[in-house]
Symmetry: C2
Subunit: 192 residues, 2 copies
DNA sequence: CCCATATGAGACATGTTTGTCTCATGCTGG
DNA sequence: CCAGCATGAGACAAACATGTCTCATATGGG
């Protein structure tokens, strides 16, 4: 049974390693492979047995982040009900992945010419569609393009994740701060 | 006149080198000293004669970014008139430095334990004060803390700079997109 | 014209990270 | 109990960025 033996013998889960790597790289994006390994409680050798190299690790994290975002997108049922409520659900669902997303968001600035993971395009499309739908239904203003709203949501998620990490914003306020700013803005509503 | 001779002989301005370094590092934050030098049209040796090392270069860029932001803060006269208008003026003034700010914003995630440039604290204080003033005057809502609004402004400036750099947002729309989202949010205003 | 000086090119040593390898160990299933 | 396999520890070379050095060159001022 050598073909499936590793399933039982592997002390550390690949998924678990990925999680701790995400947690570490979110805080320190330049962490060494050795640091990543130690953070996962394994040796550098074992880390290399799971991921061919740093590049492969980052790619795996990218896939993980995309998968979590797509899961959040699906769980939020962004095609149902008022777009504003959909945005609220989406941010709430995506919150656990915000740190990882922040890491990937800055890491992507790196991938200049290289091929991007197609998942980002799918995500962008999903988010853009949500904002476009909100515009068509008359909920969202039309002078802010869906593309910009998508980009701004990424930026706010990253800002929020960092602000929480540094203690400048309470973790419990994360969703509220982001959603309220994104949807309502800083200006006080007229209350006639 | 050896004490001032370099002023005339220096072919490249330290300021000019800093500018091109900012432009390059904004696009590729991991650029090599050699790449920075070539981008500035000088050799690595000369670059080292201007800045003792990479660290010194980043610190110089940090000082430049802070100086530009403080100049923008001052030019925008954020203590005068309606806070909303002050924010508009501020973003307009700060726009040219947005790319550099985006670079420094992510670079700062790196400076974990090390001492931060005190300029950031001054900037934060200035921005926070602006938002606080807006809350006191009744213009801004009070459920979004000035600290978070400040953080969100940084994030939106970075997002905007990247979106413009990648062609997802027109450069001319930069200020409008950021200000309108930050102040008004995505929701359409009631127009009774 | 001549000298000073900034510059460019490149060599060199260094430290760091990475990728690969070997070997001993410990645990698990049969 | 034993064989197999994943793991940890560490050695090792290679790649890379960096910092420092020397030397030749050209350019501008006196």
């Amino acid at each position: 049974m050598s073909h499936m033996g590793y399933r039982c013998l592997m002390a550390v889960d690949r998924e678990q390693v990925l999680r701790s790597a995400a947690a570490l790289l979110t805080r320190k994006s330049t962490a060494t492979m050795d640091e990543v390994a130690r953070a996962a409680g394994i040796s550098r050798a074992t880390l290399h047995r799971h991921f061919a190299g740093r590049d492969a690790l980052v790619r795996a994290l990218e896939s993980l982040g995309i998968a979590e975002c797509e899961a959040a997108l699906k769980a939020a049922r962004t095609d149902a009900g008022p777009a504003a409520d959909a945005v609220r659900r989406l941010v709430r669902e995506i919150e656990p992945a915000a740190g990882l997303l922040a890491f990937l968001y800055t890491e992507n600035q790196l991938f200049e010419g290289e091929e991007q993971n197609e998942g980002w395009a799918r995500l962008d499309a999903g988010l853009t569609e949500l904002f476009r739908r909100g515009q068509e239904s008359g909920e969202f203003r039309i002078d802010l393009t869906p593309t910009w709203l998508t980009e701004a949501l990424y930026g706010l998620l990253a800002s929020g994740a960092w602000a929480v990490a540094e203690g400048r914003v309470a973790r419990n306020d994360f969703t509220h701060m982001i959603v309220e700013l994104l949807l309502g803005g800083a200006l006080r509503r007229e209350e006639p």
